[in-house]
């Protein structure tokens, strides 16, 4: 600890802080975290440390109960489901702690999977047959705790693992009792409307309001230990309240939001400076509440090494600014490299630039350049179909089926439950889909493969009616959120039976997102959906031959935003979002995976092996450049941003120029 700390926190204020000592933790009879179980007093925080270790396990502080009641009085649906899942299926719940200190905690999933595997192995006798092996039916993570659901007959075996070592760390295994655990785990049976609960909740809400700066999107949680309001609440009088306070605060924050998008947008910056934190155990839920944080101030705490922050190893994937000044870890020779490795978007570390914008851009580049959608429609058949389909799927699936599907149309869906995500937002469960999912990696038995494929209007209707209601974004209003590609496809079955060689149709691939409305909450998900449509007797003379849907966690739409040549910062506004989809066919993407060189000889001139489409584009770029005096790069950006429509690009250029939004280096030297 820094020597200055004592003097800064002079007088009675040294009670506070939301810190927790490092090392293994134990849980006392109350289920309260006992901070001083190991290494007590080693850090010498004076009488406070000693006082803790001798703390009698008396009645829990009223504040904690109040928090728990406050939260349970406003239980969110997802929690209700979790609890009911545990009870309804007659499973016992067991909590496992201590694994966050293990080596496995640095795994991408925080060690979740290997811990579950470890536990399953240990609760099985070595000679047990594969068919009768005990399994952990369900598990979830809350803060530092893994909560598993198991058959009642396995309870003793798993409790026996208490104290076992997992990847170098001793585990604490206990029967899980929601009442005794983190306040984030509410007990729905609890009467949450008591006045003291409401009072505590109101006080914490007021504290959050006081510390939230809406314009700056900043939540300032620094120096909580010296907050007079928190001290007045007795929040730091015992380690028990201390450890539960932060998760409770996060929960109350989350209660302000029903919509995940608003929640994500509300805060970009959080400060946890001056909190005497030696590791992040107590505040680890920050990453669940603010997964998309861009700026994080952890300065003037007591983090000694990377291990103190390990639980955030795979969190905060969008972090750009991180301040750890005033922590011993900052002096570690590996500090900068480790942080760069952990946070791929990190630009400023301890107020120093550690990654340039160019380096970030280079990192994003893929070996296969991202081109605008390939869209080879025929008489706008695919365009009209896609528009009609997603509008109909949201509003009237039955009519939609009658319009485009017949007794030979096929549909199936598969859930990719482990897909990469755009944000670290928690993904809603897949309960509504998983029993219908035909992921052939997992569905191996023929009868299941057969029963999960749906042929004909009626079978598909029955399935669709059982799926949650959806809302897809409007294609015209939000074209950038969609990627729609299409090309002709021969060899489809002829519904009239006349052609033995089959008929021609279109293969349409759609990637996008939708909102799902279920039980009062809105969930955001991404999907990939491929259709094959051919001539038929449906609306517009077509029928759906095949419809195959993949569902996955929300993954954003950045991945298909067209890559632009690297340009100096700041990014110009010359490129409006991706052109409207479906775009004008006729200009095809280049047929090679090599981007055109920046200052090229032979630019715009046909050459052997050079595709016509590329020559065409290069010529358009030169025209644009000649008319605007912009560089080739900017001309190309303006064109590609306007669907290669010269008129639209020129209009866009005039607007931006008029508004003075084009940087000087957008123009050819000597023309400004």
């Amino acid at each position: 600890m820094k020597g200055g700390k004592g003097s800064r926190r002079s007088g009675g204020t040294d009670r506070g802080g939301i810190r927790k000592r490092g090392g293994p933790t134990r849980v006392d009879r109350d289920g309260d975290m006992d901070m001083d179980a190991a290494g007590g007093g080693a850090r010498g925080r004076g009488k406070r440390a000693r006082g803790d270790s001798g703390r009698p396990s008396g009645p829990r502080a009223p504040a904690v109960d109040a928090i728990q009641k406050a939260i349970s009085g406003n239980t969110t649906t997802s929690q209700v489901n979790i609890r009911q899942g545990g009870k309804g299926s007659n499973l016992e719940q067991v909590s496992i702690r201590g694994w966050k200190q293990s080596k496995a905690a640095s795994n991408r999933d925080g060690g979740h999977e290997s811990l579950v595997t470890f536990l399953e192995k240990k609760i099985n006798a070595p000679d047990s047959k594969a068919s009768s092996r005990a399994r952990i039916s369900k598990s979830r993570i809350e803060g530092d705790t893994l909560i598993v659901s198991i058959r009642p007959d396995l309870l003793d075996r798993i409790l026996h693992l208490n104290g076992f070592s997992f990847a170098g760390a001793p585990l604490t295994v206990e029967k899980f009792d929601a009442m005794m655990d983190h306040p984030t785990i509410s007990d729905i049976a609890q009467n949450g409307s008591s006045s003291s609960a409401a009072d505590t909740k109101a006080k914490l809400s007021a504290i959050l309001a006081k510390r939230y700066f809406q314009d700056a999107k900043l939540l300032n949680l620094s120096a909580l230990g010296t907050d007079p309001d928190l001290m007045a609440m007795g929040m730091f009088n015992t380690t028990s309240t201390e450890s539960k306070f932060f998760p409770a605060l996060m929960k109350i924050w989350e209660m302000n939001f029903t919509n995940s998008v608003t929640k994500r947008e509300a805060v970009k910056s959080v400060s946890l400076a001056d909190n005497q934190l030696a590791n992040i155990s107590v505040v680890t839920t920050l990453a669940q509440t603010f997964p998309d944080l861009e700026n994080l101030d952890l300065s003037r705490n007591d983090f000694k090494d990377a291990q103190a922050l390990i639980a955030w190893r795979w969190k905060f994937r969008n972090l750009e600014f991180l301040d750890l000044t005033g922590n011993p870890f900052s002096a570690d020779p590996s500090f900068k490299d480790t942080m760069l490795k952990w946070y791929p978007k990190l630009r400023i570390l301890n107020n120093t630039e550690v990654r340039t914008a160019e380096e970030l851009a280079a990192q994003k580049k893929t070996p296969i350049p991202v081109q605008p959608p390939y869209f080879q429609d025929q008489s706008q058949i695919a365009e009209n179909f896609v528009r009609a389909f997603f509008a109909g799927y949201d509003t009237n699936r039955s009519d939609l089926l009658n319009s485009f599907y017949d007794h030979n149309s096929t549909f199936s869906l598969n859930v990719n439950a482990t897909a990469p995500r755009a944000q670290q937002t928690e993904t809603a469960g897949w309960d509504s889909y998983i029993k219908k999912s035909r992921n052939l990696l997992k569905i191996n038995h023929l009868p299941a493969r057969m029963s999960r494929a749906y042929q004909g209007v009626e079978k598909i209707r029955e399935l669709w009616n059982s799926l949650p209601a959806t809302r897809h974004p409007d294609i015209a209003a939000h074209p950038e959120e969609w990627l729609i590609e299409c090309h002709p496809m021969p060899g489809l079955p002829d519904p009239t039976g006349q052609s033995a060689t089959g008929v021609g149709g279109l293969l349409i691939q759609v990637h996008g997102k939708f909102e799902e409305m279920s039980t009062g909450k809105v969930e955001l998900r991404s999907f990939d959906r491929t259709f094959i449509v051919g001539p038929g007797s449906g609306a517009g003379g077509i029928r759906v031959n095949s419809d195959i849907l993949c569902l996955r966690a929300y993954g954003g739409h950045e991945a298909w935003a067209v890559e632009t040549p690297p340009v100096p910062q700041p990014m110009p506004q010359a490129v409006p979002p991706v052109p409207p989809v479906p775009q004008v066919p006729g200009v095809q993407a280049p047929t090679q995976l090599v981007a055109p060189p920046a200052t090229p000889a032979g630019y715009g001139i046909p050459a052997p092996g050079k595709p016509d489409a590329q020559v065409q584009q290069e010529q358009l770029v030169m025209q644009m450049s000649a008319k605007t005096n912009m560089t080739l790069q900017y001309s190309e950006m303006a064109l590609s941003g306007n669907g290669w429509n010269v008129e639209a690009a020129l209009k866009n250029f005039e607007e931006l120029k008029g508004q003075g939004q084009l940087p000087p280096d957008a123009f050819l030297p000597g023309t400004v």
Partner: protein, 162 residues
């Protein structure tokens, strides 16, 4: 002989898709010289992130010459039969009706997973979605040994989606 039953059709198509997924992605990682052998001749449209690629040989060229070490992880896939009576081309034209078998079908395959470009495990996992149409390999008939693939790529569309 009557039309094949649903269980035969499901078995043939899902086995084909499984075999394909389990051999194609490993080849992209470790056996790039064999990539072209996965494609029919001729192929229809082949797309990678919106870039048109001419045929299987061109795909192989790109992977051999331009792609860094690449790790694919298939996390989910599914398939459907597009046409139960696919007109498999043969050197002598289309088969007569009495020459066709249950395997004369075309299959739609959709794959979801992630890809990591570069050798380091710290490189980001990029989500991809890929759609294939598989058709029978005319050369596979008559049991010419295991080397000949039964199913070939007719169309392919790869897209990074995360």
């Amino acid at each position: 002989m009557g039309p094949p039953s649903d269980d035969v059709l499901t078995k043939v198509s899902t086995d084909a898709a499984t075999e394909f997924v389990q051999s194609f992605y490993p080849a992209l990682q470790k056996n790039r010289a064999a990539i072209a052998s996965f494609y029919s001749q001729p192929t229809s449209t082949i797309l990678f992130n919106g870039n048109v690629v001419a045929d299987g040989n061109a795909v192989q060229d790109i992977f051999v010459n331009q792609m860094p070490p690449t790790h694919y992880e298939v996390q989910s896939f599914d398939c459907q039969i597009i046409n139960q009576a696919y007109p498999t081309p043969t050197p002598t034209g289309t088969k007569a009706p009495n020459e066709t078998t249950v395997k004369d079908m075309s299959i739609l395959v959709i794959v979801s997973g992630y890809v990591r470009f570069g050798e380091s495990r710290d490189m980001p996992q990029r989500g991809f979605s890929e759609t294939f149409v598989l058709v029978p390999n005319p050369a596979a008939e008559g049991g010419k040994g295991k080397q000949v693939k039964e199913w070939l790529i007719y169309t392919q569309n790869f897209r990074l989606v995360v």
